[in-house]
C-alpha cells in the first residue's frame, strides 16, 4: 500500500503547488507591507505611545488643532501624564465609555466629544 501510494505522486503537481504557495506568500506580503509603506509617517513625538491608541490619527489631529486654538494654554505634557495613567490599564474604548457615563465631555467648535478623545486629539495635533 505504501509503495503504490508513493508511486502515485508525480513531480509536476508538487512543483506547481510550491510555486503557487510561493506566489501567495509574495502577494500576501505585498498586501501586508504596501499599506504600511503608504501610511502617513509621523515624526517621533513624546506622545507616540498614547497616540498609538488612535485609530484615525489624521482626523484626530484636525480636531486637536481646533482644541488648541480654543485653549491656547493647553498643557501637552500634563495632559499626556494624565492620559498615560488612565490608559495604562484600560483600553481607549473603555476610558471613553467611562467619560460618557460620567458626563466628561468637551465642546470643540460646538462638537461634543468625550474628554479623553479630545485630549488625545490635542496631543495628535501637537505631535504633527
Amino acid at each position: 500500500m505504501t509503495q503504490s501510494w508513493k508511486s502515485a505522486i508525480s513531480r509536476r503537481p508538487v512543483l506547481s503547488g510550491l510555486i503557487a504557495a510561493l506566489g501567495l506568500a509574495i502577494a500576501g506580503g505585498i498586501a501586508f507591507e504596501v499599506p504600511k509603506l503608504s501610511r502617513r509617517r509621523y515624526k517621533p513625538s513624546p506622545y507616540d505611545d498614547l497616540l498609538a491608541n488612535l485609530p484615525d490619527r489624521e482626523n484626530a489631529a484636525r480636531i486637536g488643532a481646533a482644541v488648541i486654538a480654543e485653549s491656547p494654554a493647553f498643557d501637552a505634557n500634563r495632559t499626556a501624564r494624565a492620559l498615560g495613567k488612565s490608559l495604562a490599564d484600560n483600553s481607549l474604548a473603555g476610558v471613553v465609555s467611562a467619560d460618557l457615563a460620567q458626563g466628561r465631555m468637551d465642546e470643540v467648535r460646538g462638537w461634543l466629544l468625550p474628554q479623553t478623545l479630545t485630549q488625545l486629539c490635542a496631543l495628535a495635533a501637537k505631535a504633527s
Binding site: 485609530p55 482626523n59 484636525r62 465631555m105 467648535r109
Partner: protein, 500 residues
C-alpha cells in the same frame, strides 16, 4: 340654526342683559361657549372681528415692541372669529407634570394645582382640536407601526410624540371659527355677536364686581352689555390690555392691585438650526422629520428632557425637532471620523440633520406689557411689549443638547454639534411661536397672581379669564390643547356657579 348677530346693527345706547358674556371668539371663547351649550345659562359671545380677516379690525392690535427683537404685535395674532387658530400650525401636546410644580430653582414657578386636575379635560380638548386619539404617552403605538425611535440609551432626553390638529377631510389644522361656526349657530342658549369690540370692563363702584361692558364698533356705534358673569378670552396680549385699560374705578386697572397684569409675558422661542445631529448609520424614521398620517390624525416626534433631568439640572422644557439633512464641513467630517473610529463604529452611511427647537422661557416679571400713550381708532390705549430673553434660557437649552449629545455617543448612535453659543448667535436664528402666555397668571395668592385657581380675577367676584394668559409657567408644549382643557374646566366651574 340662527345667524350670528352683528354689533353694527345694534342701536347706540342699547343695554343688553345676559347671564354670561364671553369676550373673544378664539379657541378659548368658542370652546367655552360650546361647553355651556344646552344649559340654562344665557350666553353672549362678543367677537371683535367678522367671519374673515378685515384689515381695519386687525389694525386694532398694533402696538410697539422694545427690548429683545420680537414679532410685531399686530402680526402675531388674528382678530376675527376663530382668533389665532386661523394661523395655527396645529401642534398639540399636553403640558408635562413638572410644568405645574413649584420648583425651588425656578422663581415664580408652579400652578395652584397639578396636571391631574386637567387630565379629565384633555380627551375633550383633543377632540375639539381634531388631533386624533389621545395617545401621546403611548410610544409603542407609533414605533410599532412606523419604525423605531432613535436609540438614546439611558439618560435625560427621550423621544416624545406631538399630535397635530387636522380638520376633517383636510390637512389643515382646525380653524375654530370656520370649523365650529355652524355648531355655535345651533346652540339655543348662545348668541354670537360679530364686530363687537369690548373697550372697557366697568367695575361697580365698590370695585368688587364687574357692572357692565362698553362695546364699540368701528362704525361709531356704542352700546352696553350688562352680564351677570364675564369671561375674558381675547388672548394672552389683549386680556392684559383690557384689564389695564379699564382704569376708571381702580387707577391701576381691573385685577391689577398688585401690579401683575401684563407682567410675566411669555412666548416660546423657536431658534432654528440649534444643533447638527449626526446618526452614524444614517437610519431615521420618517416621523422625526415630517408629520406622518396615523390613526386619523398626524404625528411627529421630538426630543425632550425628562422631568427628573429637568429637576436635577435646573433646565426648562424644550422640544427639539429633527429637520432637513445637511452636509458637514471639514471639521465636522473629521469629528465624525475620529469619534466613530474610536468607538469602533462604521460611519460610512452617516447622515447629518439640522435640529430645530421650541424652548420654554423662565418666568420674568420684567418681560411685560404696559399701556402706551398711543390710542387705537376706538380710543383704547395701545400696548408696548418690553420683550426679554435671558442668557440662562439659552444656557438651559444648551444643557439639554449636551445631554442629548452624551446619550447619542453612549448609545453609539451618533453625535451632535451645538451651533450657537453667544447671545448674538442665538438671536440671529430666533423665531417665536406666537404663543402668548402669562400676563394674567394664576396663583392662589393675590400678591402673586391675577386670577385664582378657578380662573376668577382676584377681588372681582364675577370676572374670569380664559386662555394661556393664566399660565404661570409655560412648558414647551404648544398652548392650544392645554388652554382648551383649562377652559373646559372653567366651564364646569361656571355651571356650578350658576347652579348655586
Amino acid at each position: 340654526m340662527k345667524a350670528f348677530l352683528d354689533a353694527r346693527s345694534i342701536p347706540a345706547g342699547t343695554v343688553l342683559d345676559t347671564d354670561l358674556a364671553i369676550i373673544g371668539g378664539g379657541p378659548a371663547g368658542i370652546a367655552l361657549a360650546l361647553a355651556l351649550a344646552n344649559t340654562p345659562i344665557r350666553v353672549l359671545l362678543l367677537e371683535s372681528g367678522g367671519e374673515a380677516f378685515e384689515p381695519q379690525t386687525q389694525a386694532l392690535y398694533a402696538g410697539s415692541e422694545t427690548g429683545t427683537p420680537y414679532l410685531k404685535l399686530e402680526n402675531s395674532r388674528l382678530r376675527y372669529l376663530g382668533g389665532s387658530s386661523n394661523h395655527w400650525g396645529g401642534w398639540c401636546r399636553p403640558l408635562d407634570a413638572i410644568d405645574f410644580e413649584q420648583r425651588s430653582w425656578l422663581p415664580h414657578s408652579g400652578w395652584p394645582f397639578s396636571r391631574t386636575e386637567l387630565e379629565p379635560y384633555f380627551s375633550r380638548a383633543q377632540s375639539m382640536c381634531e388631533a386624533g386619539p389621545f395617545i401621546y404617552d403611548d410610544p409603542a403605538k407609533w414605533t410599532q407601526s412606523f419604525g423605531a425611535s432613535i436609540p438614546l440609551g439611558e439618560g435625560g432626553v427621550y423621544t416624545t410624540y406631538m399630535q397635530f390638529s387636522k380638520t376633517r377631510d383636510s390637512y389643515l389644522p382646525t380653524h375654530f371659527g370656520e370649523r365650529y361656526g355652524g355648531d355655535l349657530k345651533r346652540v339655543p342658549n348662545l348668541s354670537v355677536m360679530l364686530h363687537a369690540n369690548v373697550t372697557g370692563l366697568r367695575l361697580a363702584t365698590n370695585a368688587r364686581s364687574l357692572d357692565h361692558l362698553d362695546v364699540a364698533t368701528l362704525q361709531g356705534g356704542r352700546f352696553t352689555v350688562r352680564p351677570k358673569y364675564t369671561v375674558l378670552a381675547v388672548g394672552g396680549i389683549e386680556n392684559a390690555r383690557l384689564l389695564l385699560a379699564s382704569n376708571d374705578v381702580v387707577q391701576a386697572g381691573v385685577g391689577n392691585g398688585h401690579d401683575l397684569v401684563g407682567r410675566f409675558f411669555a412666548d416660546h422661542p423657536i431658534p432654528g438650526d440649534t444643533a447638527t445631529m449626526v446618526l452614524f448609520n444614517g437610519a431615521i424614521s420618517n416621523y422625526y422629520q415630517q408629520p406622518q398620517p396615523a390613526f386619523g390624525a398626524y404625528f411627529r416626534a421630538a426630543l425632550t428632557p425628562h422631568d427628573a433631568f429637568k429637576n436635577r439640572h435646573a433646565v426648562l422644557c424644550s422640544l427639539a425637532t429633527i429637520e432637513g439633512e445637511v452636509q458637514l464641513d471639514g471639521l465636522g467630517q473629521s469629528a465624525v471620523a475620529a469619534t466613530a473610529s474610536t468607538l469602533g463604529i462604521d460611519a460610512a452611511n452617516m447622515r447629518a440633520f439640522t435640529v430645530g427647537c421650541g424652548m420654554e422661557l423662565a418666568p420674568d416679571p420684567e418681560r411685560r406689557l404696559t399701556l402706551s400713550d398711543e390710542r387705537d381708532t376706538l380710543g383704547m390705549p395701545r400696548l408696548n411689549l418690553d420683550m426679554r430673553i435671558s442668557d440662562s434660557d439659552f444656557a438651559r437649552y444648551r444643557d439639554t443638547l449636551k445631554e442629548l449629545g452624551r446619550q447619542l455617543l453612549a448609545a453609539r448612535t451618533g453625535m451632535i454639534r451645538i451651533n450657537h453659543k453667544s447671545r448674538e448667535s442665538w438671536l440671529s436664528v430666533m423665531d417665536w411661536g406666537n404663543h402668548h402666555m402669562g400676563t394674567t397668571r394664576m396663583h392662589n395668592d393675590p400678591r402673586q397672581g391675577v386670577v385664582d385657581a378657578n380662573s376668577q380675577v382676584h377681588g372681582v367676584s364675577n370676572l374670569y379669564v380664559a386662555g394661556s394668559s393664566v399660565f404661570p409657567t409655560y412648558g414647551a408644549s404648544n398652548p392650544t390643547l392645554n388652554l382648551i382643557a383649562l377652559t373646559l374646566r372653567l366651564a364646569d366651574r361656571l355651571k356650578m356657579v350658576f347652579r348655586s
